[in-house]
């Protein structure tokens, strides 16, 4: 094991046992994480990309010492999360998006000052950092506002400042832009990037189900689905996997009974995904080569499917996700919710 690793996991797993509330003897096991092996060096912004319910939050809970794993082990800052949580806690901080936590009776400054005190930050230094971070995230004018009077988005910004305030060695950001509007999410992403540029020795583990966020921010990304890490590499390297193939988006009027499976049966069609689009449908194709396209167009013509627009494009993380999981992320989330 190298001490240069901020986070290391080995065959990490977590199974939740859920009891039937009426019949206590009946138990159901839910596998939230399975055989997760990660090595995250110091100074990296590492992304966990996956749909809701993929196991991202479970992994963060284990790494922040809130939850014990059921199999395997994990080390944060070189310390075991089960046996040495008290050595990990001074070195980390965490922020969860999409929730309105905080003491509503306290002002923004009081909330942040209090958490800084828990980490032993001198009061004057804490106040200096609070003012600086609030200014950078665009919340300086609310410093004396009670947090109960903040909108959900502003409260989330306050919590993001809380995470950065203690200058942690390792910061865990669980869906930090969840529920924020486009501008606020952009502010937060910029804030994270600037902070890391100013603190190159710090490590950030960020979970997200926004492809753009992972692509824009992360040095490396692990794609996680149903508790398993399916791939782990830099966004560029992940996308390069698909660059040997040709990617096309075809907007059509109506599928007329055409299915993705029928297209995937064609030679050279690696993946076909059919989704609803404005007034028709969109066909996303991963082809072995450009030369496969005429065959696809031929099938569309046979079925009297009209092509409205055809684009050849560069691969995105969404394509990588589809390639690995077999479904788009949005569809995967829909399935999780069922």
């Amino acid at each position: 094991m190298s001490t240069d690793l901020a986070i290391e996991t080995h065959n990490l797993g977590r199974v939740y046992t859920v009891r039937n509330r009426r019949e206590r003897r009946i138990r159901k096991e839910i596998v939230a994480l399975q055989d997760v092996n990660l090595q995250i060096p110091r100074g990296e912004l590492f992304g966990l990309l996956g749909p809701n319910g993929a196991g991202k939050t479970t992994l963060i809970k284990i790494l922040t010492t809130l939850l014990s794993p059921t199999t395997g082990w994990a080390r944060v800052a070189g310390y075991d999360v089960v046996r040495e949580p008290h050595k990990i806690r001074p070195r980390i901080n965490m922020v969860s998006g999409g929730e309105a936590s905080g003491y509503g009776l306290l002002t923004v400054r009081e909330n942040l000052w209090m958490f800084a005190q828990f980490y032993g930050l001198p009061s004057r230094e804490a106040n200096r950092r609070i003012e600086e971070l609030l200014r950078r995230i665009g919340l300086a004018d609310r410093i004396h506002t009670k947090s109960s009077d903040l909108s959900t988005g502003l409260r989330q910004k306050m919590n993001i400042v809380r995470g950065f305030l203690t200058d942690p060695e390792i910061l865990f950001l669980d869906e930090p832009t969840l529920g924020l509007d486009v501008n606020a999410a952009r502010d937060v992403r910029q804030f994270i990037r600037e902070w890391l540029d100013a603190h190159p020795d710090r490590t950030v583990l960020l979970t997200t189900h926004y492809m753009v966020e992972a692509d824009e921010l992360c040095d490396r990304v692990a794609i996680i689905s149903q508790g398993r890490v399916l791939a782990c590499d830099s966004p560029e390297a992940l996308k390069r996997r698909l660059q040997r193939e040709a990617l096309f988006d075809i907007d059509i009027t109506a599928p007329n009974g055409l299915t993705a499976a029928a297209l995937e049966a064609l030679p050279g069609v690696r993946k076909a995904v059919l989704t609803d689009a404005d007034g028709g449908a969109r066909l996303s194709l991963v082809l072995a080569a450009d030369s496969v396209l005429p065959g696809v167009i031929g099938v569309l013509t046979e079925r009297a499917v009209q092509v409205r627009h055809l684009t050849k494009r560069e691969p995105t993380l969404e394509d990588v996700f589809v390639e690995l999981v077999g479904r788009p992320l949005a569809e995967e989330e829909g399935q999780d919710e069922q």
């Binding site: 809130l66 082990w73 046996r83 008290h86 001074p90 309105a100 306290l106 005190q117 980490y119």
Partner: protein, 301 residues
Amino acid sequence: MRPPIHQSTTLPTTNLPTRWAAAWRSFRIATWLGWQIESNWTDPFLFAIYSMLKPLASAAILVVMYGVITNGQFQNPIFPYIYLGNAFYIYVGAVMTGVSWAVIDDREHYRTLKYIYVAPIRIPAYWLGRGVARFLTGSFAVLITLAAGVLFLHVPFQPARVDWLLFLVSLTLGVVMLALMGLVLASISLMIAHHFFLIGEAVAGALYLLSGAIFPLEVLPPWLRPLGFAMPITYWLELIRRSLLGDIASGFPTLSGFTNGQLLGILAGLSVLFGLMAAVTFRFCDRRAREKGLIDRTTNY
């Protein structure tokens, strides 16, 4: 197989001075937070009115019931026995449930428990700190109740005859004991995601009957009395009554065979026992709550 624990180049955080510093820091900031929460939920005038009316109203219920049942025998020694027991029992609700309530408040209401949990603090010290504000508001309630009893109901309180040393020692020991009982409850609250709102009230209610707060233990059925004798609150209330009322309190048979020194010894011993129990319960519940994923599980009750 787990790799061996490596020696970090950064300072360890488990040496004793650091642990004590973390405990003091946790207690101090939690005290500040607790007071902000207790005192800021309404404007100061309403807060003052509420703080006075609440204890007076609950004492008035007891006094009216007593008056109806005894045909107004307020000169009977049982009346100050009941009145003082009830007044000081306010501390049980304030300190014991005040400490344990911090878990519920942070987890369910403010949704901050997980952030506090991952901070480098000593959780039991933090809970104790959260109980301080309740102790202060509880003390105010006790004072108001006592003043009303002395001024309007002729509770025989003569400052010159009070054993102040015994009173202060008993009060301090009692508050510490109640805080330790609160730690046990707080630890259990960590483990129970459902129905934990009821724990503090249920325990405080049961102890109200079992610890001789409003009637001597002889009134209880014989099979319930050992529970009363096992409760440190029983000895604490006896010591408080003896220090404030002197001979009137000593006249009741329950603990008449014990000297003040013996009662203090029993109270101190039981407090140490609850301290050990709090430490063991916290370690167990902390581990189990992490294993079961209960630290940040909310019920939205």
